[in-house]
Amino acid sequence: MAFGPHLLLATLEGLVTSAVLALMALGLSLVFGVMRVVNVAHGEFFMLGAVLAWAVTATLGGNPAIGFLAALVISPLIVGAVALLAEQLVLKRLNYNPEATIVATIGLLYIIQQLALTFYGPDARPVAAPFNYRISLPWFGYSGYKLSIIGASAILLIATWFVLTRTRIGLVMRATQYDSETAQAFGIPVERVYAGVFALGAMLAAVAAVLIVPISQAHYLMGLDPLLLSFIVVIIGGLGSLRGTVVAALLIGVSDGVISVFFSPTLAKIIATLVVAMVLVFRPQGLFGTARR
């Protein structure tokens, strides 16, 4: 294959990664923005979403499209419930202290990972795509499903943006993010907002996982790499900035795709991680965020 088409393929793959990454990073960013909690277990919610998608489709059997749609609804709901439980039992009791919650979510990470290993096993298992349609480009055929991931992610991102900026729920969330004490003084049930945001963040990760699982199998260790990438995206994009998150996801996803095709994936990860650490050291508000108060 010539250089041009090769680059196009790498870019398309990168866009698919970006689409999933944007959803997952948005969840992490919401939780960090509103609650000031660094959720290290976010990658495990992603993994749980994928594993549950496999469980749902395997239980239902039959037409892959029906199984997939069922998974798309059921899996995020269960993951949201698990997150809600963790929030009520652990994070709330720690008063959302940033350092204690990091340690607690690390504990959560180990627990979820071990339970997945025990009950799901060490194998990677595939989930059938809801449809198989190949779009033939002049140089190569490309999976229509992968393109639909980009579309689905865009729709979800726009929906989230709409909820955040145009609805009462979004207003309450932004008020809590801006100043939780004043929000509470104005009668906003801050604890319920926190619980809802934590569940919503986990559900976004689960949706991302269900979307990606037909092209990259469910495995109990699959949460670690996306977790680091999401951290990278959230840091580069600046906290609480939805636009920054999307732009950063595109930047990281596409450059990761392109670098991985032409160089070693390990080198790509080394460079990306190092660059981001330097961004955090020298420009902590992110490339697109504004300085914190």
């Binding site: 940033p98 350092e99 204690a100 607690a104 180990y110 080394i270 991680t273 650490a277 955090l280 020298f282």
Partner: protein
């Protein structure tokens, strides 16, 4: 000194004497396990210096441990250095790495510090995988018995021999334990605690907090590197799993469990966690579950750890 210095000193001597006596009493299996625990407790003590006394929570200390591990391991494996020279190489690697990381990471605070240290450690880990040609990648390297001998005045010490290994581990452990007790009681240690309690106020009193924190990062890095170097020399294995995120979390767990900012807490935490995993692994292979639940229960109910709680409730003089 206002505090009574005798009781803490006696306690530390007693602990070291007890560990020495255990050499002659323990059965083979526990003898080997305790040697490993003492080396890892040194790692925890290095972590405690930064986390307990300065209040800086790092999620990347595996890189300092593995700087010592690979610094000494590669010097032996590729350059054929002697054991003492290789140990020195491990310490120098740890000092150099922690100086660079400290200069960069200390520009950030709080949560950003945790994430930055985690990312630098990840870069270090991935680099080990990337340069697999020299580091052995995820397979790791095994140091042969012939490479782990020390010649001292005509006597050959064999670090693969259990008693020698135990004594070497105990020697390192004792030196670091006494050093941390000394640091905790020194003016430097008190400035570190002052920074933990209120950095702005410490700055107002005229202390250069950045220089003090940097010194603490380097001291912590060198102690962790000493543990890593000893691990390579005593157990003969140098592998990338020892540089993974898990080995940044474990010292945090040990220190939290034993009691942050107590000199003996790291040892208590390491011994306890090792035996909890050892005992539970008889019933279940789910050791990650044990680690996870322990972490959550600790932050929820015992944020001060075993010795921290004992110090608060009963034994006020515990260092």
């Amino acid at each position: 000194m206002r505090h009574d210095g005798f009781k803490p000193a006696a306690l530390h001597v007693a602990v070291i004497a007890l560990l020495f006596a255990l050499n002659f009493m323990l059965p083979d299996y526990h003898h080997g396990l305790l040697a490993r625990i003492m080396v890892l407790a040194v790692f925890a003590m290095g972590y405690n210096l930064l986390f307990g006394y300065v209040g800086l929570l790092s999620l990347g200390h595996a890189m300092f441990f593995s700087a010592g591990l690979y610094g000494s391991g590669l010097a032996i494996y590729h350059l054929g250095w002697s054991v003492p020279a290789a140990f020195g190489a491990g310490l120098v690697s740890g000092a150099a790495l922690s100086l660079v990381i400290g200069l960069l990471a200390l520009r950030t605070t709080g949560v950003a510090f945790m994430i930055v240290t985690m990312m630098f450690a990840q870069v270090f880990y991935l680099s080990i995988l990337y340069f697999a040609q020299w580091t052995g990648g995820d397979q790791g390297l095994v140091l042969q018995q012939s490479q782990r001998l020390i010649e001292v005045g005509g006597v050959t010490l064999d670090l693969t021999e259990p008693v020698t290994r135990y004594m070497a581990a105990l020697g390192l452990f004792s030196v670091v334990l006494v050093a941390t007790l000394f640091i905790a009681r020194s003016a430097f240690g008190r400035v570190l605690v002052a920074i933990r309690e209120n950095e702005e106020r410490t700055k107002m009193l005229g202390y250069d907090t950045f220089a003090n924190k940097l010194a603490a990062v380097v001291a912590s890095g060198v102690i962790c590197a000493a543990s890593g170097a000893a691990y390579a020399l005593l157990f003969g294995y140098v592998g990338s799993t020892l540089a993974s995120v898990q080995y940044s979390i474990l010292p945090l767990l040990w220190v939290l469990l034993g009691g942050a900012a107590t000199t003996l807490g790291p040892l208590v935490g390491t011994v306890f966690m090792y035996y909890v995993i050892d005992v539970t692994s008889g019933y279940t292979s789910a050791y990650m579950l044990v680690v996870g639940i322990a972490l959550i229960l600790l932050v929820l109910y015992f944020p001060k750890g075993v010795l921290g709680t004992i110090r608060d409730r009963w034994v006020r003089w515990l260092p």
